[in-house]
Amino acid sequence: MDKTTVYKEAFKTALAVAVVYGLALQLDWMKPYWAAFTVALIALPTAGQSFNKGIMRLAGTVPGCIAGIAILSIAPQDRWLFLFLGVCWVFLATYMTSSTKIFSYFWNIAGVTCLVILTGKVDSSEHVFNSAMFRTLETAMGIVVYMLVSVFLWPRTNLGSIKSTSVKLLNIQDQPFANLTSSREVAEEELDKLRNTQIQLLTKLGQDLFAEGSESYEVSKNAVNWLTFQKQCAALMQELDKWYLSLSSTEKRTVAKILPDLKKKVEAVREEIAMVQAGLSKGEEPPVHAAVKLELKQEELATLGNVDRIIFNGITNHFNEFANVVYQMRITIGDILNDRIPDKKAITKSSQRFWINPNINYESIRGALFASLCLIAGYLIWIYINPPGHQSWILITGALGMVVAGFPQLQAKLLILPLAITCAFGIAVYVFILPHLDAYWQLGLLMLILMFINCSLFKGGPGQLAGTVGIIGMIAITNPQVYSFPALANTYLFLLMGFGTVYLLSLVLDSPRPEKALLKKVDRYFKSLTYLVRNMEAYGTGRLSTFQRWLFNFHQYQLGLIPNSLPMWARFINKKWFSPTSMQDAQSLSNYLQGLTYRMNELIALNKLYGNRLRSDWINALRIWHQKLELVFLNWEIDKTADEVEQIQAQIKQAQHNLEAHISTYLAQEKEQPDDFKEEHLFDLLTGYLGISYAALNYAEVSNKVDWKNWRQEVITI
């Protein structure tokens, strides 16, 4: 955002805070600062985003209030049952916050609101109910006031953001094809950068869908089609990765010989992508004709070795899958432009029965355990020590634990120091300025000026959050206005002690160093990969027990989650200890691990389809290949330094040579196969094996550039 926009947004937030605070005081509502906090926390750059966040906040307040009232009703006098129920709710809320994308804020607020109700005035059921009601009412008032201010004063909307983000994303996805047709050599760093940009734009597309959907009826009406389009963009990225990976294992001259039409077909696909972009930007419906199909030149293919034939088979399949996704996109854009909403029954939901595909997020479980631990610690500190803050220790430790669990990259120094400074500033204002002001217009003006400075100085992030707590929390305006410096000083000490306690607790579960988090994730990735390779044959032939199948699905799910979470950690690595090259290599690790994931998922699917139809000699040959892969991945789990690249190349060449011999024998003898088993199925399966081997090789090359010794070095840090 440019400076003028920053100041305008800061003014809008400050004005809404001042107005809602005045309204809450005028109406004599309990704790008017709740309404002010609502405005400060939902204020986002565009109206659609703010409205979406506001609705999530309001929706999350309701179950939080219900949970708080229920816990107080069940355990009003039993402290340990009270703690147990509170911990259960916080565990659930924290897990759902980090494991769901759409309702993440909803669950966060549900957890925090429950803690607010539990720590409020609980001397009678009437007061408990009143707290819940006023909390909900003031949240709603905050949302309404901010929406009115943002709609009437310098409105900024999300209208058109979906289309502009989609066009940018398709431009990025078109670039590798443009490089191919112009025969330009592309450096690996450029490919990494392209992939990272795709991921960022895909994430933005998801956010824009909800933000613009909140503002525009046309978008919300076509929500199903837009979500389908978003999935197609993600599928396009995956197919592009797979295709590029398979293309990189061949020589250009061979490609030109076997696939002479490649450039022509690539141009055709590029034209189709341009049609989709024209549909988005100009509203021109793309014509629907058959998808582009690449075919191999069979006479030239016959001159190649068997393994090379398999590789080219893979290249063709991946290109055709990519072209098919572009074809589906044309249909979806046509549906969007003509408002063709698909029948709800026709939309098949993925059958993810929990007991078969639990999709448990390991990181979310750890985060939920941490938040629960913080809540327990806060409760025990209140019961046995009773320092300043008293029952609010439950609120501060529980709420902060949830925040840290949801965003573990956030380091302590980013929160504590700004909080200490802004709260000290708030105390100074409270002591020296507030006693001289009496009418609300003076107090409101002061609040407006301070919030304006806070929002324009920090522009979002932990600094703005700390400033909001310092201003709204410390400069408490009540009706009638009462000044109590000891109470304020106690609150200041309590906040610092609370933040410090949560930070110290974070040291118990794990190291706060981003480098360690990154290493542990890579470690877990290879642990899951080793497990999958070891049990893939049994999974494909249905010989696993229910629990083993569940575990297999769990590890497969982890394989999908981990690579995408690495770049976020790589951004927070201490630049003092690592060179910029090392950091870039760490970020590009994520791309190669993602490549391994695609190949592994492909292989698992192919193995399930064809694995149990193979003859026993094939099964034995592939088992040897399994064992080699497993050994390589096990080494990478234990020791992050990859084997010498030449060693892995030699292992792959040996496996290829064995495979060549096997295929030649098979073709020469023409032994009987089951009726439905064709040569192309075998080639598909072998494509999967070759694909993962080459992905492992690519990973080894980039892994060798990372100075793992430096990364593993132990340092005490805050």
């Binding site: 320092p387 410096f485 000891p486 410090g500 794990d510 706060p512 005490i716």
Partner: protein
């Protein structure tokens, strides 16, 4: 120094009473940070299995020592 001053008591700063545990914990944290810088500099941390717990332990140990032997 009177006999009563040997017992832990709140410290008054401008009429605000600060609990002695808070000061002991603050000083303990500062000393632990200083110690950790020395440990990092002379690469003693390489020998620790779990450095974050070492940091937490140092904070606790320093806090207790200060609380026991320094009369606030």
């Amino acid at each position: 120094m009177t006999f009563l001053n040997l017992f832990p008591h709140e410290i008054s700063i401008g009429g605000v009473y600060i609990p002695p545990e808070f000061l002991a914990a603050l000083l303990g944290l500062i000393l632990a940070l200083i110690t950790s810088q020395f440990l990092n500099k002379y690469q003693v941390t390489k020998k620790f299995f779990y450095p974050p717990l070492v940091m937490l332990s140092m904070v606790v140990i320093y806090t207790l020592l200060i609380g026991l032997f320094i009369p606030f």
